[in-house]
């Protein structure tokens, strides 16, 4: 046994950055990539959707700086990333329900650093989903848009996923345990239909379209496709920002409600 020489009580330090570090990120990511459910949501589902929907008739029609194929590709990347981020977000509540958050409260890890870690993990997994969908799209060869649009759309999509990470945290707290994804999966699909991610809103009846403007997927889907379409109604921007704030507030509210037995 090598004797450990520890600093005296008075000299003890606190960790930098509230405990945020790369070991945490590495272990968190490794856990997710080992998880069959996450891999299906992150890689297989969006890739499959991109393959099937990307080839529908009319893909070669022009849209903005590219074609319909590119339009669908961007939408599918958004869907995949949102699903992934929501799934990562819902794990926060799951970890809390098994007492892991309480365990972490017995370490110097700052709650803000914990949430930051989860956000970085959600973004990384979201990026993985986006890249996967885009590689599939590239291989399929139907999407056509300038490289700059391609890259810009991917980056914008990545930032929009944060909204759904917050939604995941929120829903995870409201619906305990592993059931959160059973709600988030179909729920996000419904929101995607309503928000014009799967079918353009112009094809809906006016009533549905006006309802759609108020749903959470509408704003982000317009924003992610803006680099391609060069169209961004002001209310889409307001929608995206408002829903982001609503989900962040909801998640923060549920988490703070829950401090009795952390």
């Amino acid at each position: 046994m090598s004797p450990v020489s520890m600093s005296p009580v008075a000299d003890r330090r606190t960790p930098p950055l509230g405990g945020f570090n790369l070991t945490l990120l590495r272990i968190e990511l490794r856990r997710l990539l080992r998880n069959r459910r996450t891999v299906v949501f992150t890689l297989l589902l969006p890739a499959g959707l991109a393959l099937t929907l990307g080839g529908q008739s009319g893909w070669e029609q022009p849209v903005g700086e590219g074609n319909v194929g590119a339009y669908i590709l961007i939408s599918m990347a958004m869907y995949g990333a949102a699903l992934t981020a929501a799934s990562v977000g819902s794990m926060v509540a799951l970890e809390r329900s098994v007492g892991w958050s309480r365990q972490l409260r017995l370490t110097p890890l700052n709650p803000v650093a914990y949430i930051l870690t989860k956000a970085v993990v959600a973004l990384t997994m979201g990026a993985l989903a986006i890249v996967t969908v885009n590689i599939i799209g590239k291989v399929q060869g139907k999407a056509d848009m300038p490289v700059s649009v391609w890259v810009t759309a991917m980056v914008v999509t990545l930032f929009c996923t944060l909204t759904f990470a917050a939604l995941g945290v929120f829903v995870g707290y409201v619906v305990p345990g592993e059931n959160a994804m059973q709600i988030l999966g179909p729920g996000l699909a419904l929101l995607s239909f309503l928000g014009g991610l799967f079918i353009p809103l112009s094809q809906y009846a006016p009533v549905v379209r006006h309802l759609a403007y108020w749903t959470p997927m509408y704003g982000v889907s317009e924003i992610t496709r803006a680099p391609l379409t060069h169209e961004l109604p002001w209310y889409a921007l307001v929608n995206a920002i408002a829903w982001f704030l609503v989900f962040i507030a909801g998640a923060a509210w549920r988490m703070s409600k829950d401090t009795a037995r952390v």
Partner: protein, 309 residues
């Protein structure tokens, strides 16, 4: 389990734990109704009490997991949260607190990465005797293995204060003995240990001091034998030839005597001052075969916490 060199202590005057008039209410429910507690560094203290007595609520406040409604809690002269942030206090919880899909090693690595000063992960695994199962998923570990993992995590920062909530639940007799020997060895090197337990014998055997808590208050505080004496005193039994009314009156007049039972030559005296009674019987009467027995801790516990009513 542990061979860590525990933290050298600061000035001996600094209490490991100091609670001043601490109360905690949840809505209208008063879980803790005013607790004063001062633990010196290096003490091994058992926190004993029935379910709902306020043990866990008090431990939560010492760990900074919740704040006292009134009063103050201090750990090693700091606020509880500050003590946790500096790695000065750790805890081993009874259940949960682990992620099933992480491996044993990942769990220890994850925890170690959060402390500014920590012992090496390999060493922590070896000390806890879980080196061989380091690659195993936590969900596939037995209850005892998970408990050893929690212990390894708690010792990573070499805490000056270690809190254990029902630490040996799910351990077999041998595991329990090994565990306590490790804890005792640790305490001898200066680590303060406070544990909540339902095993009364465990409190009696392994703690220097027992703090008995019932209905949110401390009802007794002392060594195991003091607690027993406090609860119902001791019974002094002797055979006395020619025990008369006058002797009985003198016996009853001794401080602390609360019952005298005469059965022929057999005299039974219930008292909190067994020494005085024994001295009287042996010097002033013809008593022989004198015997002093105390209630066991279980009986003491029940009578102090009012559970027997």
């Amino acid at each position: 389990m542990s061979v860590v060199t525990p933290a050298r202590t600061t000035a001996p005057a600094t209490s490991a734990v100091r609670l001043d008039a601490v109360t905690k209410s949840f809505g209208h429910v008063e879980a803790v109704r005013g607790i004063d507690l001062d633990l010196a560094q290096g003490e091994v203290v058992a926190f004993l009490g029935p379910n709902g007595a306020g043990k866990t609520t008090t431990i939560d406040m010492v760990l900074g997991l919740s704040r006292p409604t009134t009063g103050t809690a201090q750990v090693l002269g700091r606020t509880p949260r500050d003590a946790v942030a500096h790695g000065l206090v750790s805890a081993v919880m009874q259940t949960g607190g682990l992620l099933k899909d992480m491996t044993v090693r990942e769990t220890v690595e994850y925890t170690a990465s959060l402390f500014a000063d920590t012992m090496p992960v390999d060493e922590a695994l070896r000390d806890a005797g879980i080196e061989a199962i380091a690659g195993r998923k936590v969900g596939k570990c037995s209850g005892g293995e998970q408990q050893r993992l929690r212990f390894a995590m708690a010792l990573l920062p070499d805490p000056a204060l270690l809190l254990l909530d029902e630490p040996t639940t799910g351990m077999d007799v041998e595991g329990r003995r090994t565990f306590w020997n490790a804890v005792r060895a640790d305490a001898e090197r200066g680590r303060t240990v406070m544990f909540a337990t339902h095993y009364l014998e465990e409190a009696d055997q392994y703690a220097d001091r027992i703090v008995l808590i019932a209905n949110g208050r401390i009802v007794a505080d002392g060594t195991g034998s003091e607690i027993r004496a406090l609860a119902a005193g001791r019974t002094v039994r002797a055979s006395v030839t020619g025990f008369g009314a006058e002797t009985e009156a003198r016996l009853r007049a001794i401080d602390g005597v609360d019952a005298v039972d005469v059965r022929g030559e057999q005299i039974l005296v219930h008292t909190t001052e067994s020494d005085a009674v024994a001295r009287f019987l042996l010097t002033e009467t013809a008593a022989r075969d004198l015997e002093i027995t105390s209630k066991n801790l279980e009986e003491a516990f029940l009578s102090l916490t009012g559970e027997d009513q």
